[in-house]
Symmetry: C2
Subunit: 220 residues, 2 copies
């Protein structure tokens, strides 16, 4: 079991939760936020009468009132402890973030990452297609995961997307790999694809942040 480093950068907090506590939270928040993802979809696609939506709104307000009673001061950040790291608030990976599909990115532990996922109505841009900005959002993270497959964090330096055609909503695949490394820079290439092949190709430079270059670097 790895110990968290003595020094942590801004927004990283020490996580003293036990394995059991983390499992209990996962068991409650996971299904809750899955239902919330469904509600995000339903709010776009429902065709029930307006008074039903108004009634639902009243019920939603009551839920908000309860959950607002005790709150973190700021965003979730990253919690790091003897039982692993938690980035449950992350916009694209977060277990507790209903904006996140969430992506479940696999890596080879060295320089490759890949991810199979599905995007529904909430990610639409041009009609029937994934928003071009959402494809950039996904690729940024999958690319960062390839650059950070060695378990050292990387930040996006540059990212260039080439849109080959529209990306249909539905089942998608993204993959990336580190093409070469120069100093603190990792050059990453990859693409997003549907069943018919790539829809967006991309390349990017990812950078090992200054605070992670020493021996005290947090792994995650």
């Amino acid at each position: 079991m790895e110990q968290p480093p003595a020094w942590l950068p801004d927004g990283w907090t020490r996580d003293d939760a036990s394995e059991e506590q983390i499992a209990r939270e996962r068991g409650v928040y996971g299904p809750f936020v899955d239902s919330l993802r469904e509600l995000v979809d339903l709010a776009i696609r429902t065709e029930v009468d307006l008074p039903v939506v108004e009634e639902a709104h009243g019920q939603l307000r009551a839920i908000n009132d309860r959950l607002r009673e005790r709150l973190l001061d700021g965003p979730y950040g990253v919690r790091i402890g003897p039982n692993g790291g938690r980035n449950w608030g992350n916009a694209i990976m977060g277990l507790r973030n209903a904006i996140a599909p969430p992506l479940d990115i696999q890596t080879d532990g060295e320089s490759r990452s890949w991810c199979d996922f599905e995007l529904g109505a909430a990610y639409e841009g041009p009609p029937t297609l994934v928003h071009g900005g959402v494809t950039a959002f996904v690729l940024d993270h999958v690319f960062g995961a390839a650059a950070g497959a060695d378990r050292r964090p990387r930040m996006t330096g540059t990212l260039t997307m080439r849109y080959l055609r529209g990306t249909p909503l539905g089942k998608l695949h993204a993959e990336a790999h580190v093409d070469r490394v120069e100093g603190w820079k990792s050059f990453v290439v990859g693409h997003l694809a549907d069943d018919d092949g790539p829809t967006v190709e991309a390349e990017g430079i990812f950078i090992l942040p200054r605070w992670a270059r020493g021996d005290q670097r947090p792994k995650y």
Copy 2:
């Protein structure tokens, strides 16, 4: 009052709703989805006891059951009618989409766009910072709005982001303008900024889609 064109591309539907009906829907869905955005934030930041979250989950399920009773078959698409266009499902602009901040993008009607907005905990990537992919998501749309400021739709061809530094969560500003036009291609440049100046610079090529090049092109 403009009439919608006779032919519409895939996912665009004719909108026969009256001005009053659209205002009524806006009055119900606008506040409902604002509350839903708050719940997305609360699901990340609440620290109430787990049984309270479980109880909220039961209430949420009941809301979903009601809204699921009558549903659109697919995503929302774009509705276009004598009383304007509606892209209420759009991932970054949509009135009915809780993923969307939503952006309220201004244009000069020719070649410039800009937008002031705020991003909270739900858009976090690295602790305390906006997810790099979210900055790409926002810039893609603001850039598309500059390219399409003349009210003809443009699709992203390429987009290159240069990350100057981390973008803090909070109040932000994005702007873009068309640098030059070559045939169907608009070359757009711009940036995202906080109070201390630009955090991400970008440039992109946006393309007038084939179906929008003739006289039958839908405006929006």
